[in-house]
């Protein structure tokens, strides 16, 4: 039976799925960082309104299941669009998946970045203040580089979580790794082998990332 699933065609199919999972996770991580930086800035700003926007975003996205969020964007938003615009919205499962994952990850990364920024010694802010350094320069040159150093380890676990969570996108028909396993399982009436293969592929990705992350951390510790 193994030969069937490890045939060039089927293996390539699953590897493509793994590539899609990795791409979705990486995309969500990157967009999530962007959202996270903006939302963290809002939560840390002096404006009450911005604080509330940041907090509401984080609470909603972290307080509801990701599967629900994925379905909401895939099935719910088109309905909403039709109600408002009157025309049908055609949505691509990959795009919707990426949006949902980015927004979800953004909420977690908001908190990571915020605590990373707040964890930078208060003396660093004061030193910038006494030297007359502007807020933007201070953030760019002093605070964020120090904050990001602290954020890297939790950011790596966020990336690993995203690789695993990308499997949720299978429910809307994006051909990521778990989806390909299910397709092959259905095709050959055998789910055991493709699920094991998919599991191994997830493991290879996550373990490799942890390994690389540890190397980077060690190197950064030396430069301190």
């Amino acid at each position: 039976m193994w030969e069937t699933f490890l045939s060039p065609d089927n293996l390539t199919y699953m590897l493509k799925g793994a590539g899609a999972s990795l791409a979705l996770a990486l995309g969500a991580l990157i967009f999530g960082v962007m959202i996270g930086v903006v939302m963290a800035a809002m939560k840390l700003s002096k404006s009450k309104v911005l604080n509330v926007i940041g907090s509401v975003y984080v609470e909603i996205l972290r307080g509801t299941p990701m599967l629900l969020q994925v379905l909401f964007f895939y099935l719910g938003v088109p309905v909403l669009y039709q109600m408002i615009a009157g025309t049908r919205l055609r949505v691509d499962p990959y795009v919707v998946g990426l949006i949902a994952m980015s927004l979800n990850s953004g909420a977690y990364q908001t908190e990571l970045i915020r605590s990373g920024i707040q964890g930078v010694d208060k003396g660093q802010w004061e030193a910038c203040e006494t030297l007359g350094i502007s807020y933007v320069t201070m953030m760019k040159e002093v605070i964020l580089p120090q904050a990001f150093k602290r954020i890297i380890p939790p950011m790596v676990s966020e990336f690993i979580t995203l690789i695993k969570d990308s499997s949720l996108i299978s429910c809307i028909g994006a051909a990521e790794l778990l989806y390909t396993a299910q397709v092959l399982g259905a095709k050959y009436y055998n789910y055991l082998d493709p699920l094991i293969i998919a599991g191994c592929m997830y493991l290879v990705m996550t373990v490799t990332i942890s390994f690389i992350a540890r190397k980077i951390e060690k190197r950064m510790a030396v430069s301190d």
Partner: protein, 245 residues
């Protein structure tokens, strides 16, 4: 140069600084001394604007330092250099970059010009050979000397020191005080919060003694140490100078 009028600052119910007035003239070296919690650091931070003033006002060259007048306030603050107890060097930057960042971004100097100024001051504090080191590779005394050089690179008219030697190992204290003494000799106006009585006595020309947020006694430094007027200052001095007899 700096005039402080009835400045008060409280944190919650605690009166850290209570109606203190003082004046610092060009070339003065003024030491703020007193027991822990007497408000001397808070007063220094109020002068620079690191703490907002609850009551009273600070004047620079006769002009009010008003946070609401942002551009002018910024300019006024940039005329003061500040040295912290815990150095607050940027750990992600080399010693040289620590000294050039503000020069390039605030004073808009070119990199060459900023580096030239930085090297000049690093030489002055005796750390030219450490220019490419990161702060974590330096001793406490070296860090503090870099912090002083970094502040001097901005060409301030006066320097404020907040317990610059309190976080140092005993054998590092002298190298920092020597740098400060030289700075004073060259005519820099300085306000120094310190527990180093030897420095206050021999380098400062004026001493302000604070206790519980009040300015208790003020005077010529030699006179203060040989003949303190207030009971509180006598008591304080008798405690800080350990006498084995």
């Amino acid at each position: 140069m700096i005039k402080v009028e009835h400045v008060s600052k409280h944190f919650g119910g605690v009166h850290a600084v209570n109606g203190v007035s003082l004046e610092v003239n060009k070339g003065d070296i003024v030491c703020l001394i007193g027991p822990s919690g007497s408000g001397k650091s808070t007063l220094l931070r109020c002068i620079h604007g690191l703490e907002t003033v609850d009551d009273g006002a600070v004047y620079m060259d006769g002009e009010l330092m008003d946070p609401a007048d942002k551009a002018k306030y910024r300019e006024q603050r940039n005329r003061m250099g500040f040295v912290f107890q815990h150095f607050n060097l940027f750990p992600n930057k080399t010693v040289l970059d620590n000294c050039t960042l503000a020069q390039m971004t605030v004073l808009k100097r070119s990199r060459e010009e900023a580096e030239k100024t930085a090297l000049e001051y690093l030489d002055k504090v005796g750390l030219l050979d450490k220019k490419d080191s990161y702060p974590n590779q330096l001793s406490g005394g070296q860090k503090q000397r870099v912090a002083i050089a970094r502040a001097l690179c901005m060409n301030p008219d006066m320097m404020l020191f907040d317990e610059p030697t309190s976080a140092l190992d005993p054998e590092m204290i002298k190298e920092v005080l020597e740098v400060m003494k030289d700075l004073g000799r060259q005519g820099m106006t300085m306000i120094v919060v310190t527990h180093e009585m030897g420095f206050a006595r021999h380098v400062a020309n004026r001493v302000l003694f604070l206790d519980q947020g009040h300015l208790v006694e003020e005077g010529d430094s030699e006179a203060f140490f040989t003949n303190p007027k207030s009971e509180r200052a006598k008591d304080f001095l008798s405690k800080v100078f350990y006498d084995a007899q």
